[in-house]
Symmetry: C2
Subunit: 159 residues, 2 copies
């Protein structure tokens, strides 16, 4: 079963959103997905795309994707952040995830990027073991903080 | 003692790098800072800047800065990431940090950004208490993963 990897194009965005929603549903967070196909098209293409996506296909069907973008480290300079690496449930265990992961690392390496970052759920030991087997490491002691839209509105209107 | 807030310009980059190094030294990580003034100038200005910086001044002296950039959430769309919020040790406790933090939140709010994110050391309870008092929350259960340059080189050359 051959895996085809390629860059995402506009016509892939409905499938990309399906993968995003499949993962969110699995995490019991389907309602948290506010992006639309229109937003993905507006934000991911054109003069200054906000992200880039690699697509994994098996027999012409889109079964996985890696979505990433550039960040900036004040220690290392330009870095790449892997926001989502998703393989559709029915196609797990066939190497699609590893192939997409490797493609992102190759992309970063070709551009002399000094760091690739992402986030993992702390109970997901299978994923952590895989990442560590490739040379990545958990950055101990740091926590992620979010200011969401409702809190942001409230904070700004009170200042 | 009035705090002046303004956008960073090219001539601020030596002071910005000093602040970055002051924080890294405090964290016993001075050697980890690989960026140079030249890189900050190349990456932060021009057609497609990789970051934006707000500067805090007291009596004409640069005493703090907030460095941030855009990210992309597959749930919320465009987001802002606050990479560094630094106030020089001698000027702490005068409200410079809160003023810079507020300016970043206002910037995000004006652009209809649905999330501002950053990272905090898990033992830094003073910072966590402040963030929570503004409506931000710690995202429980997620860990940060890094693939650094040496590991990236090794991984890519082995695949």
């Amino acid at each position: 079963m051959e895996i085809l990897l390629r860059e995402g194009k506009k016509s892939d965005m409905p499938s990309v959103l399906e993968l995003i929603k499949e993962l969110a549903t699995f995490e019991n967070e389907e309602d948290a997905v506010e992006v639309s196909v229109e937003e993905l098209l507006r934000d991911g293409f054109g003069e200054r795309p906000s992200f880039k996506v690699f697509i994994g296909e098996i027999e012409g069907k889109i079964v996985g994707m890696a979505l990433f973008y550039e960040r900036y480290s004040t220690w290392k300079g330009k870095s790449i952040h892997l926001e989502d690496l998703i393989v559709s449930d029915a196609y797990r265990g066939r190497g699609v995830g590893k192939a997409l992961y490797t493609k992102v690392m190759e992309y970063a390496h070709q551009r002399n990027i000094k760091r690739v970052s992402w986030e993992v759920l702390d109970w997901n030991q299978v994923a952590i073991d895989f990442y560590e087997s490739t040379g990545a490491h958990i950055v101990e002691g740091w926590q992620v903080v979010h200011m969401n839209e409702a809190s942001l509105n409230k904070f700004v209107s009170n200042t």
